[in-house]
């Protein structure tokens, strides 16, 4: 199990945010999701270790073979890489 933390908000389908606690683009992307007021689940992969971290990386890799952060997965069907305001707005219909 990947230990996500849930953020409450408007339901736009399941949004999974994979990031790093020190990454500035991850911070900006979360700030944008917070501003948009959508519900999402986030995990900081650098704060995980061992099997948990491997599990999270396997999931990141599935969406993003470059293994970069942030990787945000929308409804298990599309993803946005890096801090990309236009694409995130489009993905949540705002």
């Amino acid at each position: 199990m990947i230990p996500f933390t849930h953020v409450d908000g408007k339901n736009c389908g399941r949004i999974e945010f994979y990031g790093l606690s020190t990454c500035i683009w991850c911070r900006k992307t979360r700030q944008l999701l917070d501003r948009l007021g959508v519900a999402y689940d986030y995990v900081y992969v650098d704060l995980l270790s061992g099997a948990e971290q491997e599990k999270a990386m396997a999931e990141v890799r599935r969406w993003n073979p470059n293994e970069s952060f942030p990787t945000v997965v929308f409804a298990g069907s599309s993803c946005v890489l890096g801090f990309d305001e236009a694409k995130i707005r489009a993905a949540v219909g705002q």
Partner: protein, 171 residues
């Protein structure tokens, strides 16, 4: 506990000023958005505490120095990203245009190969190249003679600050 609690503002400001001075002296520039740069410098100090070295804040460190050498700041990918995108992956370092506010720094694609490709490159010891064949071209600064082996010359010579166009292909 907040992830950034362990680093003092004083230490952040001291390192930011040091990096600024060094960047200026060698022809590089830090992001002109000071708060943005401060947050990255704070993360560098945090990674210094966590890993013992300045692992890139925006990449997942292995925590094993030999595997993270390429992402110790300034990373192996900075100069190529400055040339191509006007900023390094984190946008701590930026091009002259970005520093002057002529274009914004943005989130860019990852240039670092994924973990499996890095492991394979380490295993096949790609440094042992056949004699007479170099893995990269060598560039020479015609002003001061500085040599560097990389895809393209730097935007500015780190020694004498001559511009990119003053470089010639040497080997």
């Amino acid at each position: 506990m907040s992830a950034t609690a362990a680093v003092s503002d004083k230490a952040v400001d001291a390192l930011l000023e040091k990096l600024e001075r060094e960047a200026e002296a060698s022809g590089y520039r830090l992001n002109p958005d000071r708060e943005f740069a401060r947050e990255l410098v704070r993360s560098l100090l945090l990674n210094q505490e966590r890993y013992g070295y300045w692992a890139c804040p925006c990449r997942l460190a292995a925590g094993v120095k030999a595997e993270d050498l390429d992402i110790i700041c300034p990373c192996d990918y900075r100069d190529a990203d400055l040339n191509e995108f006007g900023a390094c992956f984190c946008a701590l370092y930026v091009s002259a245009e970005v520093a002057a506010g002529e274009r914004p720094a943005a989130s860019i694609p990852e240039r670092r190969p994924p973990a499996a490709a890095r492991r394979a490159a380490r295993a096949d010891g790609s440094l042992a190249t056949p004699a007479g064949r170099l893995p990269l071209p060598v560039w020479r600064c015609k002003v001061c003679g500085y040599l560097c082996a990389r895809e393209e010359p730097p935007g500015v010579c780190p020694i004498c600050k001559a511009k990119k166009e003053r470089f010639e292909r040497f080997i």
